[in-house]
Symmetry: C2
Subunit: 254 residues, 2 copies
DNA sequence: ACTCGCTAATGGTCTGACCATTTAGTGAGA
DNA sequence: TCTCACTAAATGGTCAGACCATTAGCGAGT
């Protein structure tokens, strides 16, 4: 049910390797921090070529399950990791770019997740957990900040709240969603006419959300987060000069 | 910021290919349904080996972005797809198995997502959109149903609601989360003592949720969904005979 | 006891070959 | 002219074997 089957019923060579690793993980023989057998050894064990093993490793790497290091001894080899956020980010980003996930859908999910995070942060977060969020607020207070830097600090604020909430899945998804929307948001930011007005609203939204969380008012925090995300999205979609509508997410990386 | 850098500053060969594909997608030159250049051709274009291209393709495949077909002509080649749900499922399943995402965290996110889906389904879903959910309800009404079949119908019910809600990201995430919890849930099901009582509760929960949705009462639907998920989780975690606690997700696939 | 250098093991990469599958064209036969 | 079988080409799938850069560990020499 899980893996795509090729034309015939035979699993592909790299799927054999994936199935082997799956089984090891499921049966608890492989845990985070453990080393996979060396590529040549695993290839010999499973009677496939080393190329097949490497393709499987790439698959696992794309899922954030392993990370490879060159060199001999304990420092080298392919190790089970626990960094799913990068993998989630890349996956979401690609599918948003392909329009498999329409942005309005993403926004709704983002609201649901950040409402959860706001509530959890209100209940669980200690003061030092909120240090990152506080720092992001400081950065956004700078009147001379440019649009990209503001957006990055904005992202950091929301991700910091999600992290402070202590729910790993929620925070990783939140980070992934923000990352997936980075280019579309920057594109709309660029076409904003009343930037100063928008950024003032965003600033006060953030301050109010933060105050509600440190004030331990979960209901208000939840409500403010939802209102903030909705109004911000509306501001950069409806109020733009119309230039963003037909602008395909154009690459601006150096 | 996105891709892991190897030891030195040089990007790895397969990352060159990924970057190229990324750029094509971002600039709109590659859309869903389009063919990637043939592996040999792409290798020549980017001046890397075919093995490197294949590793990149495996990465993209793991992200649900492409699917490969053997053979010449339009029927063959590697094609951009839009099936992120399998990729999401596998990613979540692995990380749940590795305990990178603790199950209680997953449950909280699931509640947030399904509350959203319930609300959206109440507002958006036409009657025919709910046919799958209705069919799953029928299946679960069978008194002689075994635990695995019940769980599969249960999953189908929740996923059908999410699909009827019309939010692709929410439904894909819901499906992925259910899939990632399948083995842990089945394991706990197996150790349940008062199965008949639990299943009766689940049945009535589902019927009530469905009634609230067709009755267009979003608030009630949301509330019922959250209560249902919480009570079901509590029933299979707290009320089990203690056997599930130390049972590592043991494989039961054929 | 310390240092230097060698060796082995690792992943990273490339080359070149062969296979199975599929399409498209081509030619022989009706 | 049409039809069918066959061939050729293009595709991904797989493998074997080589070489490289990096790293850890060991051992000889000081």
């Amino acid at each position: 049910m899980l893996h795509a089957m090729p034309r015939s019923g035979q699993p592909q060579a790299f799927e054999l390797v994936l199935a082997w690793v799956d089984a090891q993980i499921l049966e608890g023989r492989l845990r985070v921090g453990d080393h996979l057998p060396a590529e040549r050894e695993l290839a010999a064990t499973l009677d496939v070529s080393r190329a097949a093993v490497r393709e499987a490793v790439r698959t696992l790497q794309a899922q954030g399950v392993v990370h490879s290091f060159v060199g001999a001894g304990p420092g080298g080899g392919t190790v089970l990791t626990s960094v799913p956020s990068r993998a989630l980010s890349r996956l979401l980003r690609l599918h948003v770019a392909l329009a498999n996930f329409p942005l309005p859908d993403v926004i709704e999910v983002r609201i649901a997740l950040e409402r959860l995070s706001a509530r959890l942060a209100t209940v669980n977060a200690l003061d030092e957990d909120l240090a990152d969020a506080r720092r992001a607020l400081e950065v956004m207070r700078d009147p001379s900040i440019d649009r990209q830097a503001f957006n990055d600090a904005d992202t950091e604020f929301h991700v910091a709240l999600a992290t402070a909430a202590g729910n790993r899945l929620a925070s990783d998804l939140t980070a992934a969603i923000r990352e997936s929307m980075r280019l579309p948001i920057l594109d709309r930011f660029r076409h904003l006419r009343d930037w100063d007005e928008v950024v003032a609203d965003l600033r006060s939204d953030h301050e109010a959300i933060f105050a509600a969380i440190v004030g331990r008012d979960a209901d208000v925090a939840e409500r403010l987060v939802e209102a903030h995300i909705r109004s911000a999205w509306q501001a950069i979609t409806l109020a733009d000069g119309g230039g963003a509508e037909h602008t395909r997410e154009c690459a601006d990386r150096p």
